[in-house]
């Protein structure tokens, strides 16, 4: 992930794009902020926002042709916001604002402006504000040009003169009744002044002796307003076919010309980075789904405009356009209080830091990599990919915090150790056409289901069904440990080759995805599709109450596997259940909090993800991934695993059970391997380590604490084994308890215990990663 790639990703998030109104406004009035200020009754701030973009606010608020309104998103749900009327209201109801800004340092360059319409006056005003001496030549005897075509009622003279006072303040020089081409020649202006802006309204171009194109129009560069003479710029009504007047367009031209002239006089590029000037179409996506349609607020007195209360009510109709589609559906994105554009920047900075605090580690490690963001994003931005790549880089740089993922990685290594890994062909068969891969978490959560499912498959499928007990390597992949992953997966692939490439059957959607991505040549199928086809085990309907509905929680790994979604739903219907769809399901499903190892890097976040998910329906949930089931159940939600319905004992209420604790999960895997080896293949199980024979007594209360601290019984056994054989322990003179510590690998474990009758009662256990150097003094 280099700077360029990140820049592209960052740019694809539309959240910081302006709303449609501001983008369509040629001078980019920040309508959204203005409306927000009015909505909270803060007219002074609203007026300030408006004045910031518009030099003659009184005039514009009355005659603007408001291109903003036709694109206003509110128009999709009711009527567009009456933006111009709000602009007028904020000037009407703001208490007098003092002119702000410092006088600029005077520059020694002089600019002539021909024409005192909105365009010329804006250019003169902007240039004077920048410190140039600006001189306006107007053929009529008053300033304003075509604004006098509007009725006095719409645009009273006091408003005009009040606005034009601004010119005096910045020191613009005015020459009235001075007609260019007659009273002075453009050539003379060019030699007297350093630059010239021609904004003569509808005066004929030919009269001024300028370059025309074949159609008789002035040759004006639309980006810079430059003409065939490098010193001369032109804009305003001359650029628009007559009948197409646009006061705000003229004003925007004046500003554009001022910027060009400033650049010209400073001898910098006229054309560089000007794409955000003038009207454009925004990329900001804004959903109007679920917004109640509202008509425009009615003006009780049209001649006066909105009253204060009316203005507030109209401003409240502004929906404050923004995107945040991904943030709305993803608790992770929401919890860091920003949005992808910001996050990507933070992640990039985090990866580039050489010395100093890495603030975004947690941001990078908390994403579940589930891909829901990509589904809802108008630009298909996938934050999960960004986070996963960042993790890989952190691991490569040796900057991955060890505490983030080490525990699940150890779990994976255990699953793949000889204590619980197993690969065999079906007993009594010479080869196998199929290979059942139940996944480490199903073996951990419900080992009985693995045993029964395997039996069922052996019975139903022709040509032999092999069994492979182990972890697919997802934790390594999710945590950015690329090397560990490819080592582990390479091993799996080699065994699969050696079995002559049997068709793989998966009970876990994560395994399915991992194999689909990393072993594309393999023929893979989900268990659910197999069961849907072969027919269901007999006598299973006793667990079901016909017509009862179950809400399906699709596993995020199956997001794009419609065929799996369908198979699961078919099975449920065959069992007599009514299928309930959660609002976010199928390709828009949510992660349960296990994906990407979210739970290990950010347990509080994972818990709130679970809470949010289980609040979406009162029905029992149905999951078809063991981890989803256990996580949803950990929040107190009644959740069935699909295999509970197929292989649970009749009447057994498996939806209510909590998932086993970490220690038990490992034990389940190890025992499953031992039992199957013995029963099906007649092989002796492995001998246990000495410490494994230490018998522990642990209260339920302490269990929960140990689970939170991620301490396994085997860790405790190792400490006691070490303490009892070495004698290195502390004795409490008061309670008689013993306290010992031991560091089997990266973590030091402490255990407070007591020995009695061949058992060890554990009172407490805790751990730390800091290493202590113990030395005899």
């Amino acid at each position: 992930m280099d700077q360029e790639e990140l820049g592209k990703l960052e740019a694809s998030c539309t959240q910081e794009q302006p709303p449609a109104c501001a983008a369509a406004c040629p001078v980019h009035v920040d309508v959204r902020a203005m409306a927000a200020a009015i909505a909270r009754g803060d007219f002074a701030s609203a007026a300030k926002i408006f004045r910031k973009s518009v030099p003659f606010p009184g005039i514009i608020s009355r005659i603007c042709d408001h291109p903003c309104q036709s694109v206003c998103k509110r128009g999709e749900v009711g009527e567009a916001v009456s933006i111009r009327a709000l602009e007028k209201a904020c000037l009407d109801w703001a208490k007098e604002v003092s002119a702000s800004g410092f006088p600029p340092s005077a520059k020694d360059k002089r600019v002539a402006v021909v024409g005192a319409g909105l365009s010329g006056l804006t250019a003169a005003f902007e240039l004077a504000k920048k410190g140039y001496s600006a001189e306006v030549f107007e053929k009529e005897s008053r300033l304003g040009g075509s604004i006098f075509r509007f009725s006095r009622e719409q645009l009273p003279e006091e408003v005009i003169s009040a606005d034009l006072k601004a010119l005096e303040k910045v020191g613009v020089t005015i020459r009235l009744s001075a007609e260019a081409g007659r009273d002075m020649l453009i050539d003379d202006l060019c030699s007297d002044f350093d630059a010239v802006y021609l904004a003569p309204g509808e005066q004929l171009a030919g009269e001024l002796g300028f370059g025309l194109d074949a159609a008789g129009r002035w040759i004006i560069d639309p980006l810079t307003l430059g003409t065939t003479n490098p010193k001369v710029f032109a804009g305003g009504a001359v650029r628009r076919p007559s009948g197409n007047r646009s006061p705000i367009g003229s004003m925007a031209d004046g500003r554009r010309a001022a910027i060009s002239i400033d650049r010209f006089l400073q001898k910098v590029s006229l054309s560089a980075s000007r794409s955000s000037e003038g009207a454009f179409e925004t990329r900001l996506f804004t959903s109007t789904e679920g917004i109640e349609p509202l008509p425009a607020t009615v003006m009780s007195d049209v001649s006066r405009g909105y009253s204060l209360e009316e203005a507030v009510s109209e401003a409240k109709r502004c929906i404050q356009c923004q995107c945040l589609e991904c943030v709305k559906v993803c608790e992770y994105l929401n919890s860091f209080k920003g949005y992808p554009k910001k996050y990507i920047r933070q992640i990039y900075n985090n990866l580039s830091i050489v010395m100093g605090h890495r603030h975004a580690n947690k941001l990078i490690n908390s994403c579940s990599l589930c891909g829901l963001c990509r589904e809802v994003c108008p630009e298909n931005l996938h934050m999960g990919t960004v986070c996963k790549d960042a993790r890989g880089i952190m691991v490569e740089q040796g900057r991955m915090p060890p505490s983030a993922h080490e525990f699940p990685i150890r779990d994976m290594l255990f699953s793949n150790s000889e204590k619980s890994a197993l690969t065999r062909c079906q007993p009594g068969k010479s080869g196998c056409n199929h290979l059942f891969f139940p996944g480490c978490q199903l073996s951990a959560s419900a080992p009985e289901h693995v045993r029964k499912t395997y039996g069922f498959l052996c019975e139903k499928l022709e040509g032999g069904v092999g069994l492979m007990l182990r972890c697919c390597g997802a934790p390594a992949e999710w945590s950015g440990r690329t090397q560990l992953f490819s080592d582990s997966f390479g091993n799996i692939a080699a065994q699969w080759e050696a079995m002559e490439r049997p068709r793989l059957i998966f009970a876990c959607s994560t395994c399915y995805e991992i194999f689909k991505t990393h072993l594309p040549e393999a023929d893979i199928v989900s268990l659910w599709e197999v069961l849907d086809r072969t027919g269901l085990p007999e006598g299973v309907c006793e667990n079901t109450v016909p017509g009862r509905s179950l809400a399906i929680h699709d596993a995020c790994g199956t997001r794009h596997e419609k065929h799996i979604h369908e198979a699961v739903r078919n099975i449920l219907r065959k069992l007599g259940f009514a299928v309930e769809e959660l609002a976010l399901s199928g390709e828009r499903t949510e992660c349960c909090g296990y994906g990407g190892l979210m739970f290990f890097a950010n347990p509080e976040l994972a818990r709130s993800v679970i809470r949010k998910r289980i609040a979406q329906s009162d029905s029992d949930y149905l999951a078809y991934c063991a981890m989803c089931r256990d996580y949803l159940a950990s929040g107190g939600k009644r959740t069935w695993h699909l295999l509970d319905l197929l292989f649970g004992a009749p009447g057994e209420d498996l939806a209510n059970r909590k998932g086993p604790v970490y220690t038990l999960r490992r034990e389940h895997r190890a025992r499953l391997k031992d039992a199957l080896l013995e029963e099906l293949w007649g092989e002796e199980p492995m001998e246990k380590e000495k410490y494994g024979r230490i018998r522990l007594r642990i209260t339920d209360e302490l269990r929960e604490t140990l689970e939170r601290r991620q301490i396994l019984d085997s860790d405790i056994q190792k400490v006691i084994d070490f303490a009892e054989s070495s004698g290195a322990k502390l004795l409490n003179s008061h309670t008689g308890h013993l306290l010992a510590h031991y560091k089997p690998a990266a973590v030091t474990y402490w255990v407070e215990y007591e020995a009695a009758e061949g058992q060890f009662t554990v009172f407490n256990a805790y751990c730390h990663r800091m290493e202590i150097t113990e030395r005899a003094s």
Binding site: G356, H357, R358, H359, N361, P401, P402, S403, A404, G727, A728, K729, L730, L731, N732, S733, H734, T735, L738, L739, H741, T748, W750, N764, Y766, C767, H768, R769, M770, E771, I772, T773, E774, R775, A776, S777
Partner: protein, 70 residues
């Protein structure tokens, strides 16, 4: 990391090997390449230390996190 902050009052732990009450002394602790001395209770003879749960879950966890993000 002051042990007196973590465990108010006197410690009731003895080194079971040497049979001696623990005393406060300098101990080197380290993580991810950073090493620094702290005061901990330890056996005056064999050097066996005592880390109370409050210290492990409090200050130590905090410093670990800090060093991991550095």
């Amino acid at each position: 990391m002051n042990p007196k902050e973590a465990v108010p009052g006197k410690v009731e732990w003895l080194c079971s090997k040497c049979g001696l009450p623990l005393e406060v002394g300098k101990v080197e602790v380290g993580y991810l390449g950073s090493m620094f001395p702290v005061d901990l209770y330890k056996c005056p003879k064999c050097g066996q230390v005592f880390v109370p749960v409050e210290l492990a879950e409090g200050k130590m966890a905090e410093v670990e996190k800090l060093l991991e993000d550095k």
